[in-house]
């Protein structure tokens, strides 16, 4: 088991190298050069040279990469072109906000999805199942920005409710913070719940078909025990994978929601960075997000070993 965990963490190294390398290489594809982007095309050559030197752009590519990644490992993501502020502390403080939003959304989605998924599986091929499946399908089909826009429209037209403006930190003003976060969290959670519902249903049905369920019934178990002690635990394995991936992608993928609700999270930082062509910010925050995403996946894998005793014997993908 320990060997497995260590090995799982070691696989992180090549992936992180791959990630950083691909971010770095994609950055090289930017048409024109960064300096002209910053100073304008007709800038004074001397000014250009100075800036290039300052940014290290006069060095060969591999040196640029190594120094970037070397600093990144130390937590130095460089400074923003626009604000000249250190990027890493900014990422961390914004990550907290995104993290809060993600956790709230995830919890909401589980509360909706898992019970509904179970009911849907148990009442297979009934009207209830049909309704749940349709809701789940909407969850996977409705883009969150459309859902958010329509919700805001609906709430304002029908209830005269308008999402609050201006952000307040969780610890600075908890009441206001929750007021701001709750609507986006519900929207994200509702969208996430679609695929969890589908996964819960299909995974549970799959497990219920297995031979060992018959054995458990033959031992005299009540349906409750069959379902909640055995079937659900087995069904949980693919659900956890899905949840892990969802959380991972939310941590970096709430871009749209943060944009709509003006929440100053990591997603918004990336988007602002992109719109202002502030490349160190983009490069740094994307690296950070990918890192978090990969780590979450590893945590999920390790979680498995606690649920599934077979896992340490499986090798590879």
């Amino acid at each position: 088991m320990r060997a497995y965990i260590i090995r799982r963490f070691l696989t992180l190294i090549p992936i992180l190298i791959g990630i950083s390398l691909s971010i770095f290489l994609i950055m090289q594809l930017i048409p024109g050069d960064v300096v002209s982007g910053m100073l304008g095309i007709e800038a004074n050559p001397e000014l250009r040279a100075n800036l290039e030197k300052k940014l290290g752009l006069d060095r060969p590519l591999h040196e640029q990469y190594l120094s970037w990644i070397g600093n990144a490992v130390k937590g130095d993501f460089g400074k923003s072109f626009r604000t000249d502020k250190e990027i890493f502390p900014e990422i961390l403080s914004r990550f907290k906000i995104t993290f809060q939003l993600t956790v709230m959304a995830a919890v909401i989605s589980w509360i909706i999805a898992i019970p509904l998924g179970i009911i849907s599986a148990l009442k297979r091929n009934t009207i209830i199942d049909g309704i749940v499946r349709f809701i789940a399908l909407l969850g996977v089909s409705v883009p969150n920005f459309a859902f958010a826009t329509l919700s805001i429209l609906f709430l304002s037209k029908v209830f005269k409710y308008y999402p609050p403006v201006g952000y307040a930190g969780l610890f600075a003003d908890p009441a206001k913070n929750l007021k701001i976060m709750i609507l986006p969290a519900i929207i994200l959670g509702a969208i996430m719940s679609g695929s969890i519902m589908r996964m819960t249903r299909s995974s549970l049905l799959e497990v219920m078909r297995q031979d060992f369920i018959k054995t458990i019934r033959a031992k005299g178990a009540s349906e409750k025990v069959v379902l909640f002690v055995h079937a659900l635990k087995n069904a949980l394995i693919p659900i956890i994978t899905l949840i892990g991936m969802q959380i991972g992608s939310l941590l970096g993928g709430t871009v749209v929601t943060e944009q709509i609700f003006s929440i100053p999270g990591l997603g918004q930082m990336v988007l602002t960075g992109i719109n202002q062509r502030d490349f160190p910010v983009v490069q740094g925050s994307i690296l950070f997000i990918a890192f978090v995403y990969v780590v979450i996946n590893i945590i999920v894998d390790i979680l498995y070993t606690y649920i599934d005793p077979r896992i340490t014997f499986k090798v590879g993908r």
Partner: protein, 286 residues
């Protein structure tokens, strides 16, 4: 011509299966509507998509402007119809990119295993390590936001899913004895892949392609919503929805029409995909 006849027969069988299923019927009809709108856009649209009617800004739906007009006085209905064209085009071309590369990479990785597998899947793991919308955003922002780059970005982002699906199917097909049997009668690897492996992974591949179409359309809409996809004045449902937010109070129809079409289209493709899975891969039917 033999394979062509078989192909037609297979397709007819699948469509028949889809039509028998309520879910499949709805999905198929939805997808057909989108295709008809996209292909017939110039005939169906009532106005030029870029024409601004200065006197009719933010007009509610009427006989002249079926879905009303936007803040520039453009006809929303026509923009929606041409938006279908954009959505479908982005969907098909980007899935074309990812399906083709995923198919080839997945077969290579699954069939040859070992080093080939390690390298291909290593790259896929790296691509997989980015939340997909973010990666698409990143690529588009670097290449510059426009139609072509949007398609390239979405194509790259959805390649790993295809590669994984294809690889997994290849590995499961490879464990079947008919592959060993093919080897034992002396077939070359290429022949085995073409004649025995590929035809037997088409079912999960087709299902994946349908679902990928829906997610490509979704990603395009998201990118356009953020202003990094299709650029104005080209109509895109995502950017129309984004623009609508400024006039939500005055002109709610601006939000409703594109939302309805985005949701309807993605829903149809998902319904079709679900039903296809039941028809093509009955063992997954629960």
């Amino acid at each position: 011509m033999d394979w062509f006849k078989t192909l037609i027969k297979e397709i007819a069988k699948v469509i028949k299966g889809l039509l028998k299923d309520k879910v499949g019927r709805i999905g198929l009809i939805g997808v057909l509507i989108v295709i008809v709108l996209a292909l017939g856009a110039p005939m169906i649209a009532t106005h030029d998509v870029t024409e601004m009617f200065a006197k009719s800004k933010l007009k509610p739906p009427s006989g002249d402007f079926l879905f009303g007009t936007d803040d520039f006085g453009r006809d929303v209905f026509s923009r929606i119809i041409f938006g279908a064209r954009v959505s479908l085009k982005v969907g098909i071309i980007s899935v074309g990119i990812s399906a083709t590369s995923g198919f080839i990479l997945g077969i290579l990785a699954g069939y040859y295993e070992g080093k080939t597998d390690g390298i291909i899947m290593g790259i896929m793991d790296v691509l997989f390590a980015f939340p997909s919308i973010l990666l698409a955003l990143f690529i588009v922002s670097v290449l510059g936001p426009n139609l072509t780059n949007t398609m390239i970005a979405i194509g790259i982002v959805s390649t790993p899913v295809f590669t994984r699906t294809v690889r997994a199917s290849v590995i499961s097909v490879k464990s079947m004895e008919y592959i060993t049997s093919a080897k034992s009668i002396g077939l070359s690897s290429i022949r085995i892949i073409l004649k025995h492996v590929a035809p037997n992974i088409l079912a999960p591949f087709t299902v994946q392609a349908t679902l990928a179409l829906s997610s490509a359309i979704l990603t395009e809409a998201s990118l356009s919503f953020l202003g990094l996809g299709i650029q104005p004045p080209n109509p895109s449902w995502g950017s129309m929805l984004s623009d609508s937010r400024k006039y939500m109070e005055l002109a709610p129809w601006l939000a409703i029409a594109p939302s309805a079409f985005i949701i309807g289209t993605i829903l149809s493709f998902n319904l079709l995909g679900d039903s296809l899975r039941d028809v093509l891969d009955p063992k997954f039917k629960l």
